[in-house]
Symmetry: C2
Subunit: 398 residues, 2 copies
């Protein structure tokens, strides 16, 4: 994974995970960072989310560090939870010679328990003492039920120099409020204003992190941060904004897709493309209804080309469209290549069931639903619903 000038990271074992695996991560910047965050819209926001929102409201141009812990979400923890989030930032600031106002925090794990502050303090000390370029360790330090680390990097050249972006994320989707779910940090050495950081982050979230569905649940802790420390000396605005936005989009998409591919119990990566809706929002609503349907997801798991469930889920999405104009195509892979038309004119086509089954049994499936209303479209990435999902979530706390 590409290093980013001026940033150093670490991943450590603070003793939060009983099995000795890495359970905390630290990201440090030599220079002040323009910073922006996107947070869960859940009303039951965890303490670290409330803390970061407050921090960024008063300081979005001089952030220096992000500290992350696993195993405890510090959610539904009241005043004590907020105090612990603040102490976590303060401990980090003390060790790194910063102000508390320069540190952001992230937590993931079980809801409703307090942070074990002694272990957290130990982890921060270990993290501060081992800062370096081991992005793999940092990405492992934020994993929970993830089966593999999630990293992505992009860079591009400008006449004034090279710009690099590197991000890490943990999943597995919007899937587990109990797990505190989606955490991601993307850092760059580009020179960005706080306004740009905020705007570019928001713009890149919609087609990426906001388009992934594992099970439709939304965490109390979801957090995505973008930190720009300017160490490359390359000023982005306005000449290179398009290039930067493109690189940021790629990093976010890679991380978001990695989260779906590693969704709890997932055996398949499914790309749902809804076209011909009245507008993009309507298309997304239809795609989300399909992506969250337990019947659609179990059919994919079973390798059953059960198109009726896709069409029926679209029909109950709350978006109005005419049944007569609906068309459904599927293909193996991530794009509409060698596709099979399954449904049109309110009826199944004379498709080959053997071929349809072969497509649905492949590890990556693309499904395109046209609804014939307009030019709105949306792509949503999702996975199947397996026996393992039930096993993992039926016994998570035990």
């Amino acid at each position: 994974m590409a290093s980013v000038s001026g940033f150093s990271v670490s991943g450590v074992h603070a003793g939060l995970k009983a099995n000795g695996e890495l359970d905390m991560a630290l990201i440090f910047s030599d220079n002040p960072c323009a910073a922006a965050g996107v947070f869960t819209t859940n009303l039951m926001k965890a303490a670290p989310v409330l803390f970061d929102i407050q921090q960024l409201a008063s300081n979005n141009d001089d952030i220096r560090a992000v500290v992350v812990n696993t195993k405890c979400a510090n959610a539904c923890t009241g005043e004590q939870g907020l105090a612990n989030a603040r102490e976590m930032a303060q401990l980090t600031a003390n060790l790194l010679g910063l102000e508390t106002a320069q540190v952001l925090v992230m937590s993931t794990g079980v809801i409703g328990t307090h942070l074990p502050m002694q272990k957290i303090a130990h982890g921060i000390e270990l993290g501060a003492n081992t800062l370096g370029q081991d992005w793999d360790a940092a990405s492992r330090g934020i994993m929970t039920t993830d089966t593999r680390p999630k990293l992505a990097s992009e860079s591009f050249d400008t006449p004034s120099g090279k710009v690099t972006l590197t991000g890490i994320a943990k999943g597995a989707g919007m899937i587990a409020p109990n797990m505190a779910t989606l955490l991601s940090v993307v850092v760059t050495d580009a020179v960005l204003s706080p306004e740009q950081t905020e705007r570019l982050l928001k713009q890149s979230v919609e087609p990426t992190f906001n388009r992934i569905v594992v099970d439709g649940d939304m965490s109390t802790n979801d957090t995505l941060l973008l930190l720009a420390n300017g160490a490359s000396g390359v000023s982005i605005a306005p000449n290179f904004e398009a290039q930067f936005a493109d690189a940021l989009l790629k990093v976010c998409r890679m991380l978001a897709q990695a989260i779906v591919r590693d969704g709890e119990g997932a055996t398949k990566f499914i790309t749902l493309h809804v076209k011909g809706a009245a507008n993009d929002a309507a298309a997304k609503q239809i795609a989300n209804a399909i992506a969250t349907s337990p019947l659609v997801k179990t059919a994919f798991y079973g390798g059953d080309a059960n198109w009726g469930r896709i069409v029926a889920a679209a029909g109950r999405s709350g978006v109005n469209f005419g049944a007569a104009s609906v068309k459904l195509r599927i293909a193996a892979g991530e794009t509409l290549t060698n596709d099979l038309l399954l449904f049109e004119n309110e009826m199944p086509t004379q498709y080959s069931e053997e071929l349809a089954t072969a497509i649905v049994k492949s590890p990556e499936v693309y499904a395109q639903l046209e609804v014939g209303q307009g030019v709105g479209e949306a792509i949503v990435y999702t996975c199947d619903l397996s026996h393992d999902y039930v096993s993992i979530n039926g016994s998570y706390r035990s």
Copy 2:
């Protein structure tokens, strides 16, 4: 099950199910019935749904028969599907000496295949020849993945005589568009006007059939019919309307709850009671978010008192409320008896984990969430999400 004057029924094996089980049912009334229906709001309405809506629009006071088949939903079947639904009614009318306009039809089963009309015709003939009082056979004749028949009966006395209501239903919930899901017919010998039939049916559906969730999917075929043939001679309006409404509510609630108890793969019956919302609609929206959460449902399956998932699902329901006023209580059974307060003041209480686990491990669990906004409330009945649900729906068509 109580017979209802003037109605006769049958359940037969038409050869639709390979295993020889009953697969069609017929309900016949000696007298003209006032009739009303409530149908799926799915845009992809099945042919029998479209047919019945049309029938009732032109005739809601002289319905005489309902014919039902399983194994084929006659959904997503285009013009041919509508012609087949009409032919099914016509065949029934011919054998019973009726007009096609006096017959309603219902279908449940796989989406996207045409009715095997020869078998359907055979079943109708068998059904017409075996009409009697075997309500158990009729209720078995409409089962699909249901593991047991669903019947309910209520009666009450008036000075003018006794009124009886009997209903049958099949599930298993709003759960399987592919299964055509929820079908139910309630018949009564009360004298009702078509306007009363319609109004009383709609009124009884909201707190019963509209409050059950198995997996949040909605069928293309959901249909609930109320037929009143007046054979008791007891005129309901206006003196006995409250009594009748109460009896109808009880029948609908029993049938609706039976569907949840027999939900695909269900091991638990869960009553979710949301109180203190700004209004009843908001309370229902919160309850539905909890009832459809795969994380909540798998935790119940695993016997894990994972209250954080319930609170987090409420937090993402789209309804606004203050986190500080949320309280969560659970109890074994169907009511708030010997309850345990798990969460208040944004924090878990000092509850006994052992006691909480014992409650959640019981076959019936009641959960009450207060959100402190107003006096709106809603009860939603749901079940857990088990390995068997995934098995059943991962391989339904094969």
